[in-house]
């Protein structure tokens, strides 16, 4: 299977290519994303501190054991029920958020990156702003 970080990058491009999408936001809350970046930096330098900081990160999202290290905006995680994808987007007010949101889902589901994924648990697309 494709590396989750690589897959997340591919899917971000897919999402951005959908007409009506004006922005792609971090699928996790911004502060969680910042914390995740801190954790990644810590992992690369001080291995012994990871468990304590990861416990803090876990309070803001999925269980740490399920969170893949994906610094890109689209979140790709794996769990016992399969692959989870989450994208948070901005939509142009001149378009229809419901249509754009469905189109983004369809584009992700049909993307080549997911072709060899055995089980997909969910693909979450959230319209976070309309501008």
């Amino acid at each position: 299977m494709t590396d989750p970080a690589e897959l997340a990058g591919q899917l971000e491009s897919v999402v951005r290519s959908v007409p009506g999408v004006t922005a792609v936001y971090p699928a996790s809350p911004v502060l969680v994303t910042v914390v995740a970046a801190v954790v990644s930096a810590v992992v690369s330098t001080v291995t012994s501190t990871v468990s304590a900081v990861s416990a803090v990160v876990g309070t803001g999202g999925d269980a740490p054991t399920e969170r893949a290290a994906t610094p890109t905006l689209v979140a790709v995680t794996t769990g016992k029920d399969g692959l989870k994808v989450a994208a948070s987007i901005g939509v142009a007010s001149a378009d229809s958020s419901t249509e754009v949101c469905r189109n983004v889902y369809d584009a992700i589901a049909a993307s080549a990156g997911l072709a060899d994924v055995a089980v997909i648990d969910s693909i979450t697309v959230t319209v976070a702003s309309i501008d």
Partner: protein, 213 residues
Amino acid sequence: MTLSPTPDSSQPWYAADDEPDHLDGHTIEELSDYLDRGKEPADPAIDQSAACQMALASLERLHGAMGSMVQEEATRAPVRDDSWVATILQGIVRDSRSGRDIPISHSAPTARLLVTEGAVRGLLRSTGDSVENIIVGRCRLDGDVTTPGAPVTVTVDANMYKGENIPALADTLRATLLGALHSHTELTIAGIDVTVRDIFLTKPEPEVGDSQP
């Protein structure tokens, strides 16, 4: 281990966003300053936050609509209570929060499609501000927005200019908001209540150099 603050914020990295006057760790004053600086230097924590982006857009519209009016009103009534500005700013903060998840239907079992309550409130605010002679103060969605088909009532606090026909302008606002809601959500709208909170004495004058199309 000691964790230091992020480079672009005086807030500690673990600051929660449930503080009433913060949006993703930023106050409305910080966002206003960021706007005044032309969004330079770029702050990724603001630029990648949907809530901050919606608040910035609201602030930009507010600045544009009220710049000259605020000056003129201040000249006419220097002791005038300006709490209405603070009320609008507080409304921008409240309305920009992500809030509840509003479902969007899809036939695929793996699809979980949503629009945030904050995005819808931001839409209502921008749509309302686009109606001539109206500045939106606050928007609210009352009802179970998370359950498809459940009736939802929209409440909008608006500010208008003196001399406008309030019922007619409220009807225009209501119709415009309903159109936007139908275009961007699957909410079942039971009603749109418009409350006029303030009436401004002076319409803003066009900026020098502005031209009518």
